[in-house]
Subunit: 95 residues, 2 copies
């Protein structure tokens, strides 16, 4: 079971538009930070900032290979978020 803060932190990964775009880019598989960077209209340090939030939250996993960082969506992280939502649904009433 997650704490209130842990839960909020996981979902923080999804509440910035640039991070949603990054996830969109990762949908078709692992990508290098440099590829993400050229696809987005932000500076390199800003990308680095967002990748840190995504990785720390467990939603994305990073793999270092030489001087490149390869990022991909982490099924395990997504499932953690999913199970919280299921938990809410399991007892929520309405519609």
């Amino acid at each position: 079971m997650l704490t209130t803060k842990e839960t909020a932190d996981i979902f923080k990964a999804f509440c910035d538009e640039n991070r949603i775009r990054i996830l969109q880019l990762l949908l078709d598989g692992e990508k290098c930070a440099c590829k993400l960077l050229e696809a987005m209209n932000i500076t390199q340090p800003t990308l680095s900032h967002h990748m840190k939030i995504l990785v720390d939250s467990g939603i994305v996993s990073g793999r270092k290979e030489g001087k490149w960082m390869h990022y991909s969506i982490s099924a395990e992280g997504i499932r953690k978020a999913q199970s919280y939502l299921s938990y809410l649904l399991s007892r929520g009433k309405d519609v």
Copy 2:
């Protein structure tokens, strides 16, 4: 299909600790704003602010009855968030 901003807005509902606590309180069913207020250590305007975010995002639905507002978790809203996560999983690789 949701826009980037719509997606981010839905998840914004979950990224504040007080809102997670509110959802926790709503787990056992509909509650009046006054009940939420006495269970939480925030002022009435602050609660009102958070309820607006939760309702606007579709995660919670509100029902007015006389002078009371009754809030409950909206299954439909939760499902929208769930389906975005499923979408990420459907193509994400890794673990």
